[in-house]
């Protein structure tokens, strides 16, 4: 098989599936960065949501209960981050890190103690999210491109578009960007910056939860220890590469998704060491960080990750 043959429809489908979790959490990071909040804790929010989703789905055997529990878990974690950083005056980075360590240990603890499972938890009682098939597309050339994905893959386009409109067409968007760019001036202009920061934090919790639920209930129907595997951080890098704009972040996430998808395909074609394949997203992230560095040296665009 020639290497060029891996570029086909199934690669594109795989690309969309790999992009979804990174893009959604990346946009959570972007909106936080835009408001001047360095949200390291996204990783923990994803994990908590992924676990809560699986646990609730297991106990109730209902997909909706799983999704609701996951979203509540993500938002509760976000509120915890907000309480620590904005109300109790903890350093944002420390609060985010503590939340990530707390979430990783907490979900592992609950999985081992409640279900007696180490490593991963999978059970037929866990109801996952089924892909959506559009019957009206059947037989058309669009079918392989558009049909048969789970909801997050469609949702990410709407989130990107919606955030773009929010950013540039609404007063709230202006207030968010003003808070990030110049908090003092924003305060003078009558914007309650603390309230804006709370708002984006809670919203980022919602997005991170959707991303986490994608991992545990859509892509797979199981929970594994630390299953977010750095996607929250990769999302932060994507938002930085995309200058904290929704569409830029989306594009950067697609780049990571492409790397992921090619890795998955290569694994099927060549007998590569699985560890090297698994390393692709992280190696790509390092490359992107270097690119961000070069761009900053050239001063093409301003620094995107806020310096807390």
């Amino acid at each position: 098989m020639e290497w060029i043959e891996i570029f086909d429809i199934s690669l594109l489908r795989s690309l969309l599936r790999s992009t979804a979790p990174i893009a959604i959490v990346g946009m959570a990071a972007a909106i936080c960065s835009a408001a001047g909040v360095l949200n390291i804790g996204l990783e923990g929010k994803m994990l908590n949501a992924a676990f809560a989703g699986v646990a609730a789905s297991y106990y109730t055997e209902s997909m909706w209960a799983g999704l609701a529990a996951g979203i509540i878990a993500g938002i509760v974690t976000a509120v915890l981050f907000g309480l620590l950083s904005f109300t109790l005056g903890a350093d944002e980075v420390l609060a985010g890190l503590a939340i990530n360590i707390f979430s990783l240990a907490g979900t592992t603890y609950l999985m081992r103690t409640l279900f007696g499972q180490a490593g991963f938890f999978s059970d037929p009682k866990i109801v996952g999210v089924e892909p959506i098939y559009f019957t009206f597309l059947e037989g058309t050339f669009l079918e392989p491109f558009l049909s048969g994905f789970t909801y997050s893959v469609y949702l990410m386009f709407f989130i990107a578009a919606g955030l773009h409109i929010l950013y540039y067409r609404t007063r709230l968007g202006t207030a968010i960007r003003a808070t990030g760019e110049n908090p003092e001036a924003a305060e003078d202009a009558g914007i309650n910056t603390v309230r804006i920061k709370w708002l984006v934090t809670v919203f980022s919790g919602l997005l991170a939860a959707i991303s986490g639920l994608f991992l545990s209930l859509e892509n797979l129907t199981m929970f594994t220890e630390g299953m977010s595997a750095g996607k929250g951080y990769i999302g932060l890098v994507a938002s930085s590469f995309g200058n904290a704009t929704p569409l830029g972040t989306f594009g950067a996430s697609a780049f990571f998704g492409l790397g992921d998808a090619i890795g998955i395909r290569l694994q099927g074609v060549y007998e590569l060491d699985s560890r090297l394949i698994l390393m692709i997203p992280y190696a790509l992230t390092v490359v992107v960080l270097i690119l961000i560095g070069i761009r900053q040296r050239l001063k093409v665009r301003p620094v995107a990750i806020p310096e807390s």
């Binding site: 360095l38 980075v93 707390f102 750095g230 900053q296 990750i305």
Partner: protein, 360 residues
């Protein structure tokens, strides 16, 4: 950062009290008996020579990773990648342990440790340079490098360094490269003393020397703020101190990994799992970013960690509960406003000044 003060101690104890309450809820709600868990936690941590030795063994890498954390934080760099340094340091110290023959005991151990430290330091070079010369957040780059490190060492143990045809592991280190284990049935080894000496050395260098002052001037009192302009007004190159601080931090991470391999495991294998780099961040903060504080907090953490293993073994409660509880404690300690809020009370103020006077 401020020195230890009474109100910090007060917050820590209040945090401990609330953490204990949370622990009680967590344990009861998962159908276990809290007093039984407490008993095993105590026994596993402190009862008998073997458990005490094991607790000290658990504390060994933590002292180093906590010191590594605090050094990087105090030069104004958030190094979250100490775990990565630990992995690569452990891998290459183990490699040096079987590769170099015909060496004496002392020279072989020293060589292995130096190689581990060098590799650990080099692992931090890219994030440091990216941060200082291109303004790329070292927080993210070091976190991502942790993931790279895990996969890299696992690849090496499986591929180029693999010696065992059945298990993905390197060859055993030679006897000349071993750090001696002192107690029977315990992995406690002489590396503990290396760790303590390094931390004490760090205390003196950071607090008593000009070099330490230059290092700190970048970030001290400004945790969370990047190398300030302040130090460059004084003619101190804060860029240089940021890079040096990161490299020292990485070297100590590598040392922690080297001691694990040379003193306890004696070879590197694929499933070898480290998380002391992350624990070290929590401990460094608990110890108020002071090396002596790091030693004390590590001894405490090591004991409850070892107790946690015993709890895990004896009951249905998973050992991760320890990390959950410590991170809840960190929530309290890092909440500056709780600490500041205490200053309102005259009694706290009085005790505070009393204790700080005594320190002078």
């Amino acid at each position: 950062m401020d020195k230890f003060s009474f109100k910090d101690v007060l917050v820590t104890f209040a945090g401990l009290f609330i953490t204990t309450l949370v622990a009680w809820v967590l344990i009861t709600s998962t159908g276990n008996n809290p007093s039984e868990v407490a008993k095993y936690l105590y026994e596993g941590g402190f009862k008998g020579t073997r458990n005490i030795a094991n607790s000290l063994y658990q504390a060994t890498p933590l002292i180093l990773t906590a010191t590594a954390t605090l050094i990087s934080f105090r030069v104004g760099m958030f190094n979250i990648g100490i775990n990565g340094s630990m992995y690569v340091g452990a891998l290459y110290a183990g490699w040096a342990g079987y590769k170099f023959t015909n060496l004496g005991h002392l020279s072989h151990v020293t060589l292995c440790i130096l190689i581990g430290m060098t590799v650990g330091a080099l692992w931090m070079l890219l994030p440091a340079l990216l941060r200082v010369y291109a303004g790329v957040s070292e927080i993210i780059s070091t976190i991502i490098l942790n993931f790279v490190a895990v996969l890299f060492v696992s690849y090496m143990a499986n591929g180029p360094f693999r010696a065992d045809p059945i298990a993905p592991a390197t060859a055993r280190i030679l006897e000349t490269a071993e750090l001696k284990q002192i107690f029977p049935n315990s992995q406690f080894n002489t590396g503990f003393f290396i760790a303590v000496i390094v931390a004490i050395l760090a205390h003196f260098v950071l607090n008593k020397t000009t070099f330490g002052y230059e290092l700190r001037s970048g970030g001290d009192g400004l945790v969370g703020v990047y190398p300030s302009r302040f130090s460059s007004y004084l003619g101190i190159p804060s860029d240089r101190s940021a890079i040096i601080g990161m490299l020292i931090s990485g070297a100590l991470g590598g040392l922690a990994g080297a001691i694990e391999v040379l003193g306890a495991v004696r070879y590197f294998f694929q499933e070898l799992e480290f998380n002391q780099g992350f624990d070290g961040i929590l401990i460094g903060i608990l110890g108020k970013l002071e090396p002596i504080g790091a030693i004390i907090a590590s001894l405490f953490y090591g004991a409850i960690k070892n107790g946690g293993f015993f709890v895990d073994y004896k009951t249905d409660v998973a050992r991760e509960i320890i990390i959950v509880l410590i991170s809840i404690l960190i929530f309290f300690v890092s909440a500056q406003k709780i600490v500041k809020g205490l200053e309102k009370y005259p009694i706290v103020k009085k005790l505070d000044s009393f204790f700080s006077r005594k320190k002078m």
